[in-house]
Amino acid sequence: MFFDLNLPIPSKLGPVSKKGKEKQAAPAFSPAEIDALETKIDLLVHLGYTVIAFTQTVYKKVDSKTHVNVLDAVLGQLKSRPGIVYLKRLNIILDEDSEKGFGLINANIPLCNGYDLISLVPTTHATLSLACLTHTLPSPLTAHIISLPLTLPRFPYHLKHTLIRTALKNGAVFEINYVGALGGENDPLLVDANAAENGPSAKRNWWASAREVVRVTKGKGVIVSSGVVSEADFRAPRDIGNLLTILGLPQNAAHDASTRIPKSLVIRAETRKTYRAVLSEPELIVPPNVLAQLETSLPMGVDPSTSVPMKRSREEGAKESTPSGTGAERSKKKKKKGNKE
């Protein structure tokens, strides 16, 4: 199964008026635009992709008052295809103004939960270190994908190995958009925000920067996605794997970049909904009559040292079986720690 985690949806929101801070109504997509989207998806399915993520791009910051999730509207209007998975992704472009804060704060958690994946596009060195160090730590606001602007002339910052390594250890991945390799059109919002360029030099910059990314990450946490706006720039996943081999990535890593690594990324992104990326342990739920039997049988010659720890964990399981949610996981974790000490 091949993953394409970046299919940009053109942002339809008009200029935000400074005075009116009300939420704009969800923009409706005209049938022609839905048709165009359907043909793109047809093409992707024909080329062999099975998981597609739609991207909504926001510039500078996510403002909960004015932000509208356009992807819900779009997904509702697309026809369902068996065997194809649609995901929603929020892409935030960071620049110098975003250094103070760009909306990935606890107050915006309900907004972020509307998306399956969050990604950042850092354009300065400070935002890159911010993205790599703080925003990859597990939390409901983790940005799992760091998408580097590859078509800018002279890569805006030096990729420091320690930063990249921390981000990879925390579970983030670096994304390469292959639209730049073909000299294709980038998302117009990215171009406006100076995070991408269309033009003859864009292709050359892409090859230089992508090679650098591959070198620094040593091919470990690299995913490849389309970022394609016009239909004719789509390519089959094995063709893209071949292009990555030319960049210096070994053949198995190039194949992993569109299969294994995005797959584990999507599963890891679901942990945003858990407490600090702890996936819950299975709970043992003991029926009450069995529990009563155990309690009565304990004083009768059963060795207490071996059975007490087991009984305590079973009791915890029984207690925690009713309250559900992250609070229970947290308290159970603490209790288990106390148990082992």
Partner: protein, 162 residues
Amino acid sequence: MVRFKNRWLLAEFIPIDSNSSKSTTSKPTPSGRPLDGKIIWSALRQSVLDNFGDVGWGAVAPSLTIKYFSSATSVAIIRVSREHHKIAWAALTMLLSINGVRYIPNLVHLSGTIRHAQLAAIEHNRVVIARYRALAKTPAGYQDSYDSFLEKSTLEIEGLQD
């Protein structure tokens, strides 16, 4: 053994109509001059020159041949030497348009012998015909012109020699 080894690429060209937004995977509509083996060869040559320069073209040129091309299904069998097949493959991927019409090159199969390329081509034809038939919703057992096309193309493909 110092045998000269080759790679056989089975490539499909998907035309993209820039005017209409209709799905082109349902039925290819030929627009402009129909494609030909020679046209594809010169387009591929230009792509190698643009992306890999004279050095790349020198590596690939002696062995680059278009062995078969079917204009009905837009499928080509291309032979390249094994050492430099990645250059030719990448140039194929980065091919944007032929004769002014935009195409998506899609590599269906890559093999080391012509036999497997032939088998893959026959299989690909059958899959494409099955897709057309599913779209047209013809009942099974209905004899249409596709059968004769399949037979004819199978014979052509089997007749290829190294």
